[in-house]
């Protein structure tokens, strides 16, 4: 009898799991013993870290986009209809056109930035966390003649180092075009330091002081007045701006919320070590879709994919799923237009940034291309 695996979501996590599984179990797939289906909601695959570069006119969406079907192993069934329901009781996924039964399900439905979560933000703010947002922000950044650029950050959000990269790149960008003296850069952060990771925060503060970037901690955006161009903090204070660049809170996918599987933000309660959905032995959750207290980032999805694929293979072969996710993440941090650093950490080991260098910047730019090998399950 054919065993059926469905992977729901065609982003970094879903694509990696599907490809690695298909490569590892090619014989079973070719013999008809195993069927791997990936259900996405679009036929395109976008490398999301590219949005940051787009905001500074360093690349366009096309260069960060591929057709999903060309990334996938040829024996993976690819469905781009999007799911409208996840029926974990009946063990099936419903799309607008079909119903797909599964033996094991991997939910990799990701997250999205919700600009409607703060009153006035959608009208008064910009974001580089969506392709459309990055393109609109590029226009504003290129035409900005001077004034205050303010960065606000909400929780939870993807890629917790991207806002830092943005402010450092903005500093470099306006220095390069010769109007840095007319641009006031103001960075804010929700907690008592400028980044959740203490070593990163210490390093960033030194950089802020060296570069003349203002910063304010304990900043939790509660409302925006788009007419007066004022951002309001939870403590009641008012902050005028000329260009507001927001990292809004992220939410889980609509289908997860509609199916009643997520928490109040649409993230699925997940075991932090096994990556199984709580209470479901036949459902794995991976990437941004989980409620785990780890970074929502491509690298997290990458390391989680290793665990999920190994455990799926074990279970398909009748073995216990013995592999455990240890919370590992790895992040490049662009510290300007020409240098970068990186951090790596897990549930037990805190991160320690290394000194920034031009070489690491080139490594990051190289990874922007190498990513496609990761998505294919090669790297």
């Amino acid at each position: 009898m054919t065993r059926r695996i469905i992977i729901l979501g065609g982003g970094v996590a879903g694509t990696m799991v599907a490809n690695r599984l298909a490569k590892s179990m090619e014989d079973e797939i070719y013999s008809g013993a195993l069927e791997v289906t990936l259900i996405g909601d679009t036929d395109r695959h976008i490398y999301q870290p590219g949005f940051l570069f787009m905001a500074f006119n360093e690349g366009f969406l096309e260069q960060f986009t591929r057709e999903e079907k060309y990334l996938l192993h040829p024996k993976i069934n690819f469905v781009a209809d999007g799911a409208v329901n996840i029926d974990v009781e009946g063990k099936k996924i419903i799309t607008p056109k079909q119903s797909f039964a599964y033996d094991f399900l991997v939910i990799a439905t990701g997250s999205y930035p919700d600009m409607d979560s703060v009153p006035g933000l959608a009208a008064g703010g910009h974001t580089f966390y969506t392709p459309e947002g990055a393109e609109r922000l590029r226009y504003e950044m290129l035409n900005f003649q001077g004034g205050t650029i303010m960065v606000t950050i909400d929780v939870p959000h993807k890629c917790p180092v991207a806002p830092l990269e943005f402010i450092f790149m903005a500093d470099d960008y306006y220095r390069d075009i010769g109007i840095r003296d007319k641009v006031r850069l103001k960075y804010t952060y929700p907690i008592g330091r400028v980044h959740s990771l203490e070593p990163v925060a210490k390093w960033a503060v030194k950089e802020f002081e060296k570069r003349g970037i203002e910063y304010e901690v304990f900043f939790n955006l509660e409302a925006v007045d788009p007419e007066k161009k004022i951002a309001y903090n939870m403590d009641g204070s008012e902050h005028p701006y000329d260009l507001l660049v927001a990292v809004p809170p992220h939410r889980g996918a609509r289908v997860v919320r509609d199916a009643g599987l997520g928490d109040e933000d649409g993230f699925i309660p997940t075991d932090r070590y096994t990556l199984k959905m709580e209470g479901r032995d036949d459902v794995y959750v991976i990437g941004d879709a989980t409620n785990l207290p780890v970074s929502k980032a491509g690298s997290t999805a990458h390391y989680e994919a290793d665990v999920v694929v190994k455990n799926l293979i074990s279970e398909l072969k009748g073995l216990p799923p013995s592999h455990r996710y240890n919370g590992k993440a790895f992040c490049f941090i662009e510290t300007g237009m020409n240098e970068a650093t990186y951090i790596t950490f897990n549930y037990k080991q805190p991160p320690r940034p290394v000194p920034p260098s031009e070489m690491l910047h080139w490594f990051k730019l190289s990874y922007n291309e190498m990513y496609w090998l990761s998505a294919r399950g090669i790297l």
């Binding site: 909400d154 929780v155 939870p156 959000h157 917790p160 929700p190 907690i191 008592g192 330091r193 959740s196 990771l197 203490e198 304990f218 939790n220 939870m234 403590d235 809170p249 109040e264 933000d265 932090r272 207290p293 780890v294 970074s295 919370g327 993440a329 950490f345 549930y347 037990k348 805190p350 991160p351």
Partner: protein, 79 residues
């Protein structure tokens, strides 16, 4: 002491990024006035930075105590 009704416990042990306080901020922003959130954190820094945040934002610290190898911190949303 009257009994405290915990609305939700947030287990942020092992969280470096985004970190325990971020998990609490998320819950408070989502919650209703009067809700009490209990944060479990393995980071001793939470015992300092959570009360600071609570004080700055005008919420109420219900307790902040050390358990076996981690901290239990409860906060009531007041506005």
């Amino acid at each position: 002491m009257s009994e405290i009704n915990i609305t939700k416990t947030i287990d942020a042990r092992g969280s470096y990024c985004p970190g325990p306080l971020m998990e609490l901020v998320k819950a408070i922003k989502r919650g209703q006035v009067g809700d009490v959130y209990e944060l479990l954190s393995g980071d001793s820094g939470s015992a300092k930075d959570v009360p600071e945040w609570v004080n700055k934002m005008g919420h109420e610290l219900v307790y902040c105590k050390e358990d076996e190898g981690f901290w239990r911190i409860a906060v009531r949303k007041t506005k």
